[in-house]
C-alpha cells in the first residue's frame, strides 16, 4: 500500500489510482472513463437491502455499461480496470487512491457523512471531489476538518462522461493548489476533458446559462403559440445549437428533471437574479410528468413514436391541448430568413423571429451579466457552453454575431436591462484578432490574448497567424513550426475528392524538397477527419457513364496514397471523429498515426456496394501478414481482412482500431482533442532522425482456394438470410482481391498487383445497378441500403 500521493517525474502529483463512490449513471460513467485513460479505478456503492451480492450495485453498473450504446468504455477490456465493491466491506480499497470522486445523491447530509468516512481511510495528499451540480462547495465542506477542506474540490462532469467534453472544476478558498492542479492536469491529458475553472456559484457556468436558456425557450414557445417543431427549428441550427433544439433536448435528458433543476437554481441564485422572474413550471410539463410522459425513457415526451397499427409515425404534442399529432415540417418565413444570418432571424416579424429574439435577448444578456461573477473571463463561458451543451457558438460569440452595440440598443428598446459588460464593450466586439492572435474582451475593459495551455496546438491559431503554404478549394498546407507541415482537408465532411488528392500530392512534393519541412502531419479540426471518398462525384460520373473518369479517380487515389507511404520523410496521420473508407485508407498509408481516442475508423465501402480501392485491401492484408503474433500461413491475414471489410466493421474508438489492425502497436492515442496536433507533431519530429521509408511488400496469397473458402462462407450467410443478394456479389469481388485472384501459394503478389485487383473489382461493381442504388440511397438518406 502506498501511503503518499504519487508524484511524477517532474515532482508533480500524478493520479495513478482513482475511486468513484456512487454507481449511478454518472458515477459509473465517470469510473468507466477513468478506466479509458488507463487508470485503475474502484467503484463503490451502498449495500442494497437484502442483496445476496453485497457489491451488486457496482457490478450491475459495469455489466450494464458493457451493453450500453454509445459505449462508456472505449474497449471491452477496459472494464477490467474497474474494481467493483461496496462501501461497507471495501472501503479499504480507497486507502491508496490518489483521487476519490463522490457521485452520490444530491443531499448535503449524505455527502458529508460519506466525507467523514473517507477522512478515516484516505491517504495524505489524496484529493476528494464531488460531482455535485447543485450544492455549493462552501456548504459541502462546512464543519469538516481543515485537511479535508484543503483536499476537496468540485468536479462537475456532463452526461455521458466519455462523450461530453466539458468538466467544470470549482476550487474552494482553502483548496490546495497542487490538488486542484493534479486533477485538472489528469482530467485534461488523461481524461481528455475541456476543463473550465468555475467559481462556487449556483449551477456553475453551463447549467446556470443552460437552465435559463431552457426556461426561456419553453416559456416563450408556450406564450408565443409555437408548435414544438417550430420552436425546435428556431432554437437549433440557426443559433448553432444541436438539432434537438429545446423540446427534443428535454425528451433526451428527461422531462422530469426540469422541475428539479430549475427549482434548485431558483432557490440558490441571488434575490435579484434574472432567473427568478422567469422561473415557471408549466402545467403542460406537470401533466406530462404525472402521466409518465417523461421523454425517451418514458412513454414519450414532446415527441413520440406512435407504433399503433404497425406503422411508425413520429408525432409531436400539441402544447395547448396535450394531444399528439403527426409531426409537421415548420413553415416559418423566419426560418428561411435565418439563412441570411442570426440578425436577420431575430429581426424577422413573424413568431419565429420574435421567439428567436426572446431566447437570445434573455440568455445572452444573462450570460453577460454573470461575468465576472461566475467565471473570470468570457472565453471560459463560451467554452463551457460549447463543450457542455454542444453549442457551436458560446453566448459571447453569439452576441458578436448580432453586433454588441446593436444588441445593447435592442435590449434597451425592449425595456430590458443592459449588462455592464455589454455597455463596456460598446461599439467593439467581444472577440477580435490582433496581430494574428485571438483576443477576448476582459471585464477590466481591455483585450487579452487567449493563451492555450502548454501542449495545446490548434490549427485555428496557426491559421490566424499565418498564410497557407499551398492549397486549393479542398485542402490547405500549413506550417506548424519546427519544420513540420500540416495538411488540412476542408471539403464537406472532409470527403476526399480529386482536389484533396491533388493537394496530398503537392504536400508530399513540397516537403520532399527539404528546404523548409522535415515531416508532414495530416490533420484537421472538422468534426470528422474524413468520411471517405466523395461518393457523390463517383455516383454522378457513373450515372453519366464516364467510366474512364471514374477509373482515373481510383487510380489517382492509389498513386497518391502510395506516394504518401513511400515518401522520404515521416507522414503522421492525426485523426479525430470518423475516418472511414478513403479516410481510413489514407491513415493506413501514413508512417505512423497519432489518433484522438474518439476516432472511429473502418473500411465501410461495401455499404455502398464497392470494395476499398485506394489501397485499403492491400494495406489491411499487409498489416495482418506482418503482425508478429497471430497464426502463420497465407490464409489467416486474408480471412481477417475479409471479415473486417466484408462486414464493414467500424472501430468505435482508437483502442478498438488498434485491435482491428487499423492502427499499429507503435501508433499513439491522444485523449484530449486539443492536444492531438501537438502530439502528432512531436511524433513526426521524433521519427525524422534516420527515417527510411518502408520496404515494398510482397505477399503470399492463397489464390483460388482462398477465394472459394470466402465465397462458401458468404453463401452460408446468404442461406441464413444474413447476406443480401448484392452482399454476395460485393463479397465475391472482395474475395477476388484479397485472395490474389489467380495467384497461388507458391508465388508472391506485389502491392501493385493488389491495387490492380482493387481497381478491377471497383470498376466492375460500379457498373452494377445495385451498387449505384446503394450509393444513391446512402447519399439520399445517410443510411446503407440492404439490397
Amino acid at each position: 500500500m502506498r501511503l503518499r500521493a504519487e508524484t511524477g517525474v517532474d515532482g508533480k502529483m500524478e493520479i495513478k489510482k482513482a475511486a468513484v463512490i456512487g454507481a449511478g449513471v454518472m458515477g459509473s460513467g465517470i469510473a468507466a472513463h477513468i478506466a479509458n485513460a488507463g487508470v485503475p479505478v474502484v467503484l463503490l456503492d451502498i449495500v442494497p437491502e437484502g442483496a445476496n451480492d453485497r457489491s451488486k450495485l457496482a457490478k450491475d453498473a459495469i455489466a450494464r455499461m458493457l451493453k450500453t450504446d454509445p459505449a462508456p468504455f472505449m474497449h471491452k477490456r477496459t472494464a477490467k480496470l474497474v474494481t467493483p465493491g461496496n462501501l461497507e466491506d471495501d472501503i479499504g480499497l480507497l486507502a491508496d487512491a490518489d483521487w476519490i470522486l463522490e457521485a452520490v445523491v444530491e443531499n448535503p447530509q449524505v455527502k458529508q457523512a460519506l466525507y467523514e468516512k473517507l477522512e478515516q481511510i484516505r491517504k495524505p495528499g489524496s484529493v476528494v471531489s464531488s460531482n455535485t451540480s447543485t450544492i455549493p462547495l462552501a456548504k459541502l465542506v462546512e464543519g469538516l476538518p481543515e485537511r479535508f477542506r484543503q483536499d476537496f474540490i468540485i468536479t462537475h462532469f456532463f452526461n455521458p462522461p466519455r462523450y461530453l467534453r466539458l468538466l467544470e472544476i470549482v476550487a474552494g478558498p482553502e483548496s490546495r493548489a497542487e490538488a486542484v492542479d493534479a486533477v485538472h492536469r489528469f482530467s485534461d491529458t488523461g481524461l481528455g476533458k475541456g476543463v473550465v475553472r468555475c467559481k462556487d456559484t449556483p449551477g456553475f457556468i453551463a447549467n446556470r446559462i443552460g437552465t435559463m436558456w431552457i426556461q426561456i425557450a419553453v416559456n416563450e414557445a408556450l406564450d408565443g403559440g409555437l408548435t414544438v417543431e417550430e420552436a425546435d427549428a428556431i432554437a437549433s441550427r440557426p443559433m448553432g445549437v444541436p438539432k434537438t433544439g429545446i423540446f427534443g433536448l428535454l425528451d433526451l435528458v428527461g422531462i422530469d428533471l426540469i422541475p428539479h433543476v430549475s427549482k434548485s437554481l431558483r432557490d440558490n441564485v441571488p434575490e435579484d437574479d434574472a432567473f427568478r422572474p422567469v422561473y415557471r413550471i408549466s402545467d403542460r410539463v406537470k401533466t406530462m410528468i404525472a402521466d409518465g410522459y417523461t421523454g425517451r425513457k418514458g412513454k414519450g415526451g414532446f415527441y413520440r413514436l406512435n407504433k399503433e397499427g404497425g406503422k411508425r409515425v413520429k408525432e409531436a404534442i400539441d402544447l395547448a391541448t396535450g394531444a399528439y399529432r403527426p409531426v409537421q415540417t415548420p413553415q416559418l418565413a423566419s426560418l428561411q430568413a435565418a439563412k441570411a444570418g442570426l440578425r436577420t432571424l431575430v429581426e424577422h416579424p413573424d413568431k419565429g423571429g420574435h421567439y428567436a429574439w426572446k431566447i437570445l435577448a434573455h440568455t445572452l444578456s444573462y450570460s453577460a451579466a454573470l461575468v465576472p461573477g461566475i467565471a473570470d473571463d468570457i472565453h471560459a463561458v463560451d467554452e463551457a457552453m460549447r463543450l457542455g451543451y454542444a453549442w457551436k457558438w458560446g453566448p459571447f460569440e453569439l452576441i458578436d454575431k448580432l453586433g454588441p452595440a446593436w444588441f445593447a440598443e435592442r435590449l434597451a428598446a425592449d425595456g430590458l436591462p443592459v449588462p455592464e459588460l455589454l455597455k463596456q464593450v460598446g461599439d467593439g466586439t467581444f472577440y477580435r484578432v490582433e496581430g494574428g492572435r485571438l483576443q477576448c474582451f476582459g471585464s477590466d475593459g481591455a483585450y487579452h490574448d487567449i493563451v492555450r495551455p502548454e501542449g495545446v496546438l490548434l490549427l485555428e491559431d496557426v491559421k490566424r497567424a499565418s498564410e497557407r503554404v499551398a492549397g486549393n478549394a479542398a485542402a490547405s498546407l500549413w506550417d506548424i513550426g519546427d519544420g513540420v507541415a500540416c495538411l488540412e482537408f476542408h471539403t464537406k465532411m472532409n470527403a476526399i475528392d480529386p482536389d484533396v488528392l491533388a493537394m496530398i500530392g503537392q504536400a508530399v512534393a513540397t516537403v520532399q524538397k527539404g528546404d523548409r519541412f522535415r515531416a508532414l502531419v495530416l490533420y484537421n479540426e472538422g468534426s470528422n477527419f474524413s468520411v471517405g471518398a466523395n461518393i457523390g462525384l463517383a455516383l454522378f460520373a457513373a450515372n453519366i457513364a464516364m467510366w474512364p473518369a471514374i477509373e482515373n479517380m481510383v487510380q489517382a487515389g492509389q498513386q497518391t496514397y502510395k506516394m504518401l507511404k513511400y515518401a522520404s520523410f515521416p507522414v503522421v496521420g492525426a485523426p479525430s471523429g470518423m475516418a472511414l473508407g478513403g479516410g481510413c485508407e489514407v491513415l493506413m498509408h501514413c508512417a505512423a498515426v497519432q489518433a484522438h481516442a474518439e476516432t472511429y475508423t473502418g473500411l465501410v465501402e461495401v455499404g455502398v456496394g464497392v470494395v476499398p480501392s485506394w489501397g485499403g485491401c492491400k494495406e489491411l492484408l499487409t498489416r495482418w501478414a506482418q503482425m508478429e503474433k497471430g497464426p502463420k500461413g497465407p490464409m489467416p491475414p486474408v480471412a481477417k481482412a475479409f471479415e473486417t471489410i466484408s462486414m464493414a466493421k467500424v472501430a468505435k474508438s482508437a483502442a478498438e482500431a488498434r485491435e482491428m489492425g487499423f492502427l499499429r502497436e507503435g501508433d499513439g492515442i491522444t485523449m484530449n482533442r486539443d492536444r492531438l496536433l501537438a502530439d502528432a507533431k512531436a511524433k513526426a519530429l521524433a521519427m525524422v532522425e534516420g527515417y527510411a521509408p518502408p520496404e515494398p511488400v510482397e505477399l503470399t496469397l492463397p489464390g483460388s482456394s482462398g477465394k472459394t473458402a470466402m465465397n462458401l462462407a458468404v453463401d452460408g450467410f446468404a442461406r441464413q438470410g444474413l447476406a443480401t443478394p448484392h452482399d454476395v456479389v460485393v463479397a465475391g469481388a472482395l474475395a477476388e482481391v484479397l485472395s490474389g485472384d489467380d495467384t497461388d501459394i507458391t508465388a508472391t503478389v506485389t502491392e501493385d498487383r493488389i491495387l490492380e485487383l482493387e481497381r478491377a473489382a471497383f470498376m466492375r461493381l460500379a457498373r452494377t445497378p445495385a451498387t449505384l442504388a446503394r450509393i444513391e440511397y446512402m447519399l439520399d438518406t445517410g443510411k446503407p441500403l440492404r439490397n
Binding site: Q331, F540, A542, N543, I544, A545, W547, E776, L779, D780
Partner: protein, 594 residues
C-alpha cells in the same frame, strides 16, 4: 399550297421496326394493342385528320372564335368536326375502358396527337385539354368524382380545362389568389379570376369541367398552399346530366397571334361550387404528376407543325420553277428548274426533315415510357421509365416546339413572298407554332427544370436512364465499320454532353446562376445527342434493309441521317462552348445599361 398527308410509313417504321411497340401489348390492360390494331387505328385516324381537320385549319384561322355575352362560338365546321371526332372515340383513345374509353396505350395517343396537331392545332387544343383534365381526375380524384365525371369526358359530351394562370401569376403559381371556402356539404365555393384559359368556353360540348387551382382559407403561403378543385360549368343533376348553371362565366376571349380557332378565355369564378381533387394544399403535386404527359403533348404539337411545314415546303419546292441549277439546267424543257435543285433549299428541307424524323422517334419512344411507367408489373421497371420520362419531358417540350417554330419559319422561307402572304397557309404555322414555345411552361423554364431539378435529382439517377443505354449502344456498335459514319459523330457529341453535364454539376450546384446561364444551351445539346442517337438507331435498321423491297425508303433514311450527323449534330460543339463560357458574359452588363 399547304398540304398534309399523315406520314404513316414513317410512323410504322418508328413504331414497329425501331421501337417494337407491340411490346406494350404485354402490359396488363393493353392486350389488344397488337400491330394490326395499331395500324388500323392510325390509318383511320390519318383519314380523319387529313379529310376532316386539315380542311378546317385555314378557315378556322381566318374566322377565329367569337365572343358575345359570355358565349364563345368556334369557327364554322368545328362543331361538326368535333361531333364526328368524339363519335369516332378519338378523344378517348387512351382513356380507361372502365369509364368508356378505348383503353389503348398512351403512346398510341401520342401518334394520333401528332396527326391532329399537324392537321389543325387549334382544333387539337379542345380534346387536348379534356385529356389533361381526365388525367388529373383519374390520378387524383376521389372515386365519387371519377365515377361521376370521367364517363362524361370519355363520352366526349363534356370537355375539360386547366385553370392555373391568373393576371398576377403565370410561371410563378405560388402567387395564386383564387380562394376556396369550404361549404357544408363537402363542396367548396371558388372565387377568383383566371386568364389564358384554353377551351374555357366554347360551343363544342354540353358541359365544361374546369380544374382550378385555388387556396383554402388555412393555406400556407406560396406554392405549398395551393389546392386543386373541379368546377363544372353546369352542376350535374342526380341522373348525371348537366343541370343548373354554376357561378363561372367567361368574360372575354383573347385576340392572339396564332391558334385563332382555339378559344383563350378569361374565366370569372364567383362563389362557384367545386370539389376538392386530391389532398388539401397538395394541388401542385397533382399538377406535377400530369405535367409530364401535358408537356409531352405540347412537344408533340411542335412535332406535328414541323412535319406539316415540311410537307408544304417540299411540295412547293418541287413545283416552283425559278432560275436554273448552279451546275446547269436540270429541267431543260421548261423555262426554269424547280427550286429543289438548290443546295440551300435542300438544306432547309433536310433540316426540317432530319429534325422531324428524329423527333418522331424520340417522342414515340418516350411516349411508350408513359405506358411502362403506369402499367408495368415490376415496380423497378416502372420507376426507371418514370425517371426517363421525367428527364426527357422538358427536352421534348422545349426542343420540339422550338423545332416546330424553326420549321414553320423555314417553310415560309422556301415559299419566299408566297409564304409571307396568307393564301398558301404557310405563315399560319409560324403564328400557331409560336405559342407552343410559351405555354405549359416556357421553354426557358423547361431548361431550368432540366438543369435544376432533373439533372441533380438523386445525384444524377435520372440521367442514368439515358446515358447508360446510349453508352452501351456506342460500345456495341463500335466494332461495326458500316455504322462508323453515325457512331463516330454521335460518340463525339455524347462526350460533349458528358462534359457539359459534369460542368453544370460542378458549377451549377455551387452557383445556381451558372446553371441558369447554361440551361438553354444544355437542353439544346442534350436534344442534339438524343436526336443523334435516334438517327444512329434508325440508320442501323436502314443499313440492314437498304437493299430490300423498300430500298428507296431506307436509302432516304440513311441520306437524311447523314445530313443530321454532318450538318446538324456539330452544333453540339458550339453549345458546349457556350455552356463553358459560364454566366459571366450574361451577368456582366449592369441592369441599368440594358
Amino acid at each position: 399550297m399547304a398540304t398534309y398527308e399523315a406520314p404513316l410509313r414513317d410512323m410504322a417504321f418508328v413504331l414497329h421496326e425501331l421501337l417494337d411497340m407491340e411490346q406494350l401489348a404485354k402490359l396488363p390492360g393493353y392486350e389488344e394493342a397488337t400491330r394490326d390494331l395499331i395500324d388500323a387505328v392510325l390509318e383511320e385516324g390519318a383519314k380523319f385528320c387529313e379529310n376532316e381537320l386539315f380542311p378546317l385549319n385555314r378557315s378556322g384561322d381566318e374566322e377565329g372564335c367569337t365572343y358575345e355575352n359570355g358565349v364563345v362560338r368556334t369557327p364554322k365546321g368545328f362543331k361538326e368536326a368535333y361531333a364526328a371526332f368524339t363519335e369516332g372515340g378519338w378523344h378517348a383513345l387512351s382513356f380507361d375502358t372502365a369509364y368508356g374509353g378505348q383503353g389503348l396505350p398512351k403512346a398510341l395517343n401520342v401518334v394520333l396527337e401528332e396527326m391532329i396537331c399537324a392537321a389543325n392545332l387549334s382544333f387539337g387544343t379542345y380534346p387536348g385539354l379534356s385529356g389533361g383534365a381526365y388525367n388529373a381526375l383519374e390520378l387524383h380524384g376521389s372515386e365519387e368524382l371519377k365515377s361521376r365525371y370521367l364517363p362524361k369526358l370519355a363520352e366526349g359530351t363534356w370537355s375539360g380545362t386547366m385553370c392555373l394562370t391568373e393576371p398576377q401569376c403565370g410561371t410563378d403559381l405560388g402567387l395564386i389568389r383564387s380562394k376556396a371556402e369550404p361549404g357544408e356539404d363537402g363542396s367548396y365555393k371558388i372565387t377568383g379570376t383566371k386568364i389564358f384559359i384554353t377551351a374555357g368556353e366554347h360551343d363544342l360540348a354540353e358541359n365544361i369541367l374546369h380544374l382550378v387551382l385555388a387556396r383554402l382559407p388555412d393555406a400556407p403561403e406560396g406554392i405549398k398552399g395551393i389546392s386543386l378543385f373541379l368546377v363544372p360549368k353546369f352542376l350535374p343533376k342526380e341522373n348525371g346530366s348537366a343541370g343548373p348553371r354554376n357561378g363561372v362565366q367567361c368574360s372575354g376571349i383573347e385576340h392572339k397571334m396564332g391558334i385563332a380557332a382555339s378559344s383563350t378565355c378569361v374565366m370569372n369564378f364567383d362563389e362557384a361550387t367545386g370539389w376538392l381533387v386530391g389532398e388539401p394544399h397538395r394541388g401542385m403535386r397533382a399538377m406535377f404528376t400530369m405535367m409530364n404527359t401535358a408537356r409531352l403533348g405540347v412537344g408533340v404539337q411542335g412535332l406535328g407543325l414541323s412535319d406539316v411545314a415540311y410537307q408544304g415546303a417540299c411540295a412547293y419546292a418541287r413545283e416552283r420553277l425559278q432560275g436554273r441549277a448552279l451546275t446547269g439546267a436540270k429541267n431543260a424543257q421548261a423555262a426554269a428548274d424547280p427550286i429543289i435543285v438548290h443546295p440551300d433549299v435542300r438544306r432547309m428541307l433536310l433540316t426540317m426533315r432530319a429534325n422531324t424524323e428524329a423527333a418522331r422517334a424520340l417522342a414515340y419512344w418516350i411516349g411508350m415510357q408513359v405506358d411502362v411507367s403506369l402499367k408495368h408489373p415490376d415496380a423497378e421497371v416502372r420507376a426507371e421509365a418514370e425517371d426517363l420520362l421525367a428527364l426527357m419531358t422538358p427536352i421534348i417540350k422545349a426542343r420540339f416546339t422550338d423545332m416546330g417554330f424553326e420549321s414553320a419559319n423555314l417553310g415560309v422561307q422556301v415559299y419566299g413572298g408566297h409564304g409571307y402572304i396568307r393564301e398558301h397557309g404557310m405563315e399560319q404555322y409560324v403564328r400557331d407554332a409560336r405559342i407552343t414555345q410559351i405555354y405549359e411552361g416556357t421553354n426557358g423554364i423547361q431548361a431550368l427544370d432540366l438543369v435544376g431539378r432533373k439533372l441533380p435529382a438523386h445525384t444524377g439517377r435520372m440521367l442514368r436512364r439515358f446515358f447508360h443505354p446510349l453508352a452501351d449502344f456506342l460500345e456495341e456498335e463500335k466494332s461495326d465499320p458500316a455504322m462508323a459514319e453515325f457512331t463516330k459523330p454521335l460518340a463525339k457529341a455524347f462526350g460533349r454532353l458528358q462534359e457539359g453535364t459534369t460542368w453544370i454539376a460542378q458549377n451549377g450546384l455551387r452557383d445556381p446562376e451558372e446553371a441558369g446561364a447554361a440551361a438553354v444551351d444544355y437542353l439544346r445539346l442534350f436534344a442534339l445527342v438524343a436526336m443523334g442517337w435516334m438517327w444512329a438507331r434508325m440508320a442501323k435498321l436502314a443499313l440492314a434493309r437498304q437493299d430490300g423491297d423498300e430500298a428507296a425508303f431506307y436509302k432516304a433514311k440513311l441520306a437524311t441521317g447523314r445530313f443530321f450527323m454532318t450538318r446538324i449534330l456539330p452544333e453540339s460543339a458550339a453549345r458546349l462552348e457556350a455552356i463553358k463560357a459560364g454566366k459571366a458574359p450574361l451577368m456582366e452588363l449592369a441592369e441599368a445599361a440594358f
